[in-house]
C-alpha cells in the first residue's frame, strides 16, 4: 500500500511538471480517524499531501464534470467506471481527464466500526495489513478488515479500474464468482407488503439533505427534478410520501448507470441503506441485457438505444 501511495505521488508530480494536467484530484489525510478527504493539487510541491489507504472512500469522479482544465484524477475501480459513464454521456471530454487507476481491495465502512464499538469514539486508527487497530479512551481493539468493508466492496467484481490512462502498481485478483445480488434476491423473496413496509421504514429517516444525490457522480443535471418548479413534481417537506418519491425516482434516474460505488449510503447522515433499491435495477440490467455500466467507452448503454431484438414480453 505504501508503494502505491508513493507511486501515486510520483505520477502526480510528473503529470503536473510535464504540464499534462493543470490539476490533480486525489485524497489527503482527513481530520478524523478512518477518514480521508478530497484533495486538489495544482502545485508540484503539494503532491506530498496525497495519500492512498483503505479510507480513500470518496468517488472523486464527482469533481470532473464542468471543468475546463485538464485534470488527473485518482480512481478506484468503481470511480473509473463512473468516469466512463460520464464520458459516454458526454459530460466529461475524454481528452480532459487523465485517469490514474488504482487497484482497490475495498474501503472501510466507518459506520460498521462505530456500530461495533457501541458508541465509543475512535481516537486513533491504523490499518495493519488485513487488520484495523482502533484506539480510544480506555480501549484498543484489533478488527479484521474484511468484516468492516463497505457493503458495495464486499461484492465488488471490478477491483482493477477497467479504464485508465496510468495504472498504479500491479493488478489484483478479481472475484467474478461473487454473488452481488444476494441482498436483492432476499428482498425479492418478500411480499409486496413486506417490501413496502421495509422501504417506508428506512426512508422515514430521511431529512432531505440530498447528500446522496450530491455525492453521486451521475447526478450532474443542471436542473434536478427535485428542484424544478412549474411544474413541481413533488413536495419539498419531509412528508414521507414526497420523500419516497424522491428516492424512487432517483433510483430510476441512475438505473442502468449506477456502478455501486456506495458513495450515497456512506454520505447519508441518517444511516439509510440507499444502495438496495438501485441494486435491484442493476440486477435487471444484468439479466435482461447482460450489461454492467462503465466498462466500455464505445458501447452504447442499453437504456440509451433500442435494438430490434430487445425483448418486449411486457407489451401485451
Amino acid at each position: 500500500m505504501e508503494n502505491l501511495e508513493s507511486s501515486i505521488r510520483d505520477i502526480a508530480r510528473k503529470l503536473l511538471s510535464d504540464k499534462k494536467v493543470d490539476l490533480i484530484i486525489g485524497y489527503e489525510q482527513g481530520t478524523l480517524p478512518l477518514r480521508t478527504t478530497p484533495c486538489f493539487v495544482d502545485k508540484v510541491e503539494d503532491v506530498q499531501k496525497l495519500v492512498w489507504n483503505a479510507s480513500c472512500d470518496a468517488n472523486l469522479s464527482k469533481y470532473l464534470v464542468d471543468r475546463k482544465e485538464k485534470v488527473g484524477v485518482v480512481a478506484k475501480g468503481c470511480d473509473a467506471r463512473s468516469i466512463a459513464v460520464c464520458i459516454v454521456e458526454k459530460q466529461i471530454p475524454r481528452e480532459n481527464v487523465v485517469i490514474i487507476g488504482v487497484p482497490c481491495l475495498g474501503v472501510i465502512d466507518r459506520k460498521k466500526v462505530e456500530a461495533k464499538l457501541g458508541g465509543k469514539e475512535v481516537l486513533e486508527s491504523i490499518v495493519e495489513g488485513e487488520q484495523i487497530r482502533v484506539k480510544g479512551e480506555g480501549f484498543e481493539f484489533v478488527l479484521p478488515k474484511k468484516d468492516f468493508l463497505c457493503d458495495s466492496c464486499l461484492t465488488c467484481r471490478h477491483r482493477n479500474p477497467p479504464i485508465y490512462d496510468v495504472f498504479v502498481g500491479e493488478k489484483v485478483p478479481e472475484t467474478p464468482e461473487v454473488n452481488e445480488f444476494a441482498e436483492v434476491s432476499d428482498l425479492e423473496s418478500k411480499s409486496v407488503e413486506e417490501r413496502w413496509a421495509h422501504f417506508k421504514e428506512e426512508l422515514s429517516k430521511c431529512i432531505r439533505c440530498y447528500a446522496c444525490r450530491n455525492v453521486c457522480p451521475l447526478c450532474y443535471c443542471k436542473m434536478c427534478f427535485v428542484d424544478q418548479t412549474m411544474p413541481a413534481w413533488f413536495g419539498k417537506t419531509n412528508d414521507l410520501s414526497d420523500t419516497m418519491i424522491y428516492h424512487i425516482v432517483r433510483a430510476f434516474h441512475v438505473a442502468g448507470r449506477c456502478v455501486d460505488c456506495g458513495a450515497c449510503s456512506r454520505a447519508c447522515p441518517m444511516d439509510i441503506n440507499l444502495r438496495e433499491l438501485v441494486k435491484k435495477t442493476e440486477k435487471i440490467m444484468k439479466e435482461r441485457y447482460d450489461y454492467e455500466s462503465g466498462l466500455s467507452l464505445e458501447e452504447v448503454p442499453p437504456l440509451g438505444e433500442f435494438k430490434m431484438d430487445d425483448s418486449q414480453e411486457f407489451i401485451k
Binding site: 469533481y63 447528500a211 456512506r266 454520505a267
Partner: protein, 341 residues
C-alpha cells in the same frame, strides 16, 4: 433546596409522573440513531449517547411546520390558522451545547419588530432539562465557542451523571418548580456535589479541540474578495448536512402546497443549495459553491456577531463528523485567524 439526586432506576417513574402534566420529549434510540421524540414512558428513553444525530432545534423549529391551511371555496379563500400548541412541555436530555443553541436561536426568532410566535410559543411553554457531558468527543469544541460541557445557559434543570444516579441542579425558577413537583427526590449530599464538580473539571480538561475565534469577525470583514475562498469550497458537494444538523442554523423557506386546497408550510432551507438565492429573474448572486461557502462562514462568524453579539456555533461538532467529504469548519476558522489578508 436546588440540589437533588435521582437514582437511574427511578427515571421511568419520573418520566411517567411528568407525562401526566407535560408533553415529554426525550432521546430515543432506534438502531444506530438517537433522536428527540415524544415519549410516553421512561422505558423509551436512552441517555447513553454522546450526542444525538439531529440537534433538538426541531422541537421548537420543526423541519416541516404547517402555518395555516386554506381552501378556495365559493365564498373566496378560507384560511384555518395553525397556531403553535400551547401545551406545557419538558424537553429532557439536552447537552449543554444544544441548550446554548436555544439561547442563540431566541435572538433570531424574537429580534426586532417581528416575533416568530410559532417558535416562541413552544419555547415559552417548554422546560429544558439538560444533560451535562462527562465525556466530550474529540470533535467537541464548546469551550472555544462560549460554552462548556456542564454549561447552564438555556438550561432550567441540569442532570449530572454520577455513578448509578443523577445529580439534579435547578438553574432557574422553572427548574426549581419542576424539582418541587417530585417531593420524593432525595436531597443531594455534599459528596455528590463535589463529585459533580470534579467530573466537570475532568470534562473541561478532556476537550482537546480548541478553535480561536478572536479577531475572526474583523478579519472576515476584510476578506470578502480574498482568493482563499477559491480553494476552501472545492471539495464541498453542496448538500444540506451541515446546515440541517447544525443546532444554530435556522434558515427556512415558506411554500404553499396545493392549489385550490392546501397548506402554507415552513421548511428548513440551506444556504448551500444553489436555489437559496436564485431570484425570479434567473439571476443568482451566489452562483457557485465558492460564494455559498463564503456565505456560510461569514454568516456564522461575522454577520451574526454584528447582529447579535456572538457567533452562531456552539462547538457541537456534528457538521465535522457528518460531512460526507470531511470538510472541517475548525480548519477553516483556523485558516482565517492566521490568514494574511
Amino acid at each position: 433546596m436546588k440540589w437533588k439526586v435521582l437514582e437511574k432506576s427511578k427515571i421511568p417513574v419520573l418520566i411517567e409522573e411528568l407525562t401526566r402534566e407535560y408533553e415529554v420529549f426525550a432521546p430515543v434510540k432506534k438502531n444506530s440513531l438517537v433522536s428527540f421524540e415524544r415519549v410516553s414512558s421512561g422505558n423509551e428513553i436512552y441517555l447513553g449517547f454522546q450526542n444525538t444525530k439531529k440537534p433538538p432545534k426541531e422541537v421548537f423549529f420543526p423541519q416541516t411546520e404547517i402555518l395555516f391551511t386554506y381552501r378556495v371555496g365559493k365564498k373566496g379563500v378560507e384560511i384555518e390558522e395553525h397556531p403553535a400548541p400551547r401545551r406545557k412541555r419538558v424537553l429532557l436530555g439536552v447537552r449543554s451545547c444544544d441548550a446554548r443553541s436555544f439561547v442563540l436561536l431566541d435572538k433570531v426568532f424574537s429580534s426586532g419588530e417581528y416575533k416568530d410566535l410559532y417558535y416562541l410559543e413552544k419555547r415559552k411553554n417548554t422546560t429544558i432539562v439538560g444533560l451535562a457531558c462527562n465525556h466530550p468527543l474529540s470533535t467537541c469544541f464548546c469551550t472555544s465557542m462560549g460554552g462548556s460541557p456542564f454549561g447552564k445557559e438555556g438550561v432550567d434543570l441540569l442532570l449530572q451523571e454520577l455513578n448509578g444516579k443523577y445529580l439534579l441542579e435547578a438553574v432557574t425558577e422553572r427548574g426549581m418548580e419542576l424539582i418541587e413537583k417530585f417531593p420524593w427526590l432525595m436531597d443531594a449530599e455534599k459528596g455528590d456535589i463535589e463529585k459533580a464538580k470534579r467530573l466537570f473539571e475532568d470534562a473541561e480538561r478532556a476537550i482537546r479541540s480548541k478553535v480561536s475565534v478572536e479577531g475572526v469577525s474583523e478579519k472576515l470583514d476584510r476578506m470578502f474578495d480574498d482568493p482563499m475562498w477559491d480553494q476552501i469550497h472545492q471539495k464541498c458537494v453542496g448538500c444540506a448536512v451541515c446546515t440541517y444538523l447544525c443546532p444554530t442554523c435556522c434558515c427556512f423557506d415558506i411554500l404553499d402546497e396545493g392549489t385550490n386546497e392546501g397548506k402554507r408550510v415552513r421548511i428548513w432551507d440551506t444556504c448551500q443549495s444553489p436555489l437559496f438565492t436564485l431570484e425570479g429573474s434567473g439571476h443568482n448572486p451566489r452562483p457557485s459553491g465558492k460564494e455559498r461557502m463564503r456565505q456560510r462562514i461569514m454568516h456564522k462568524f461575522d454577520y451574526v456577531v454584528k447582529n447579535f453579539g456572538e457567533g452562531f456555533c456552539v462547538g457541537c461538532g456534528r457538521c465535522i463528523r457528518e460531512c460526507p467529504v470531511n470538510l472541517d469548519i475548525r480548519e477553516i476558522v483556523k485558516k482565517i485567524s492566521t490568514w494574511q489578508v
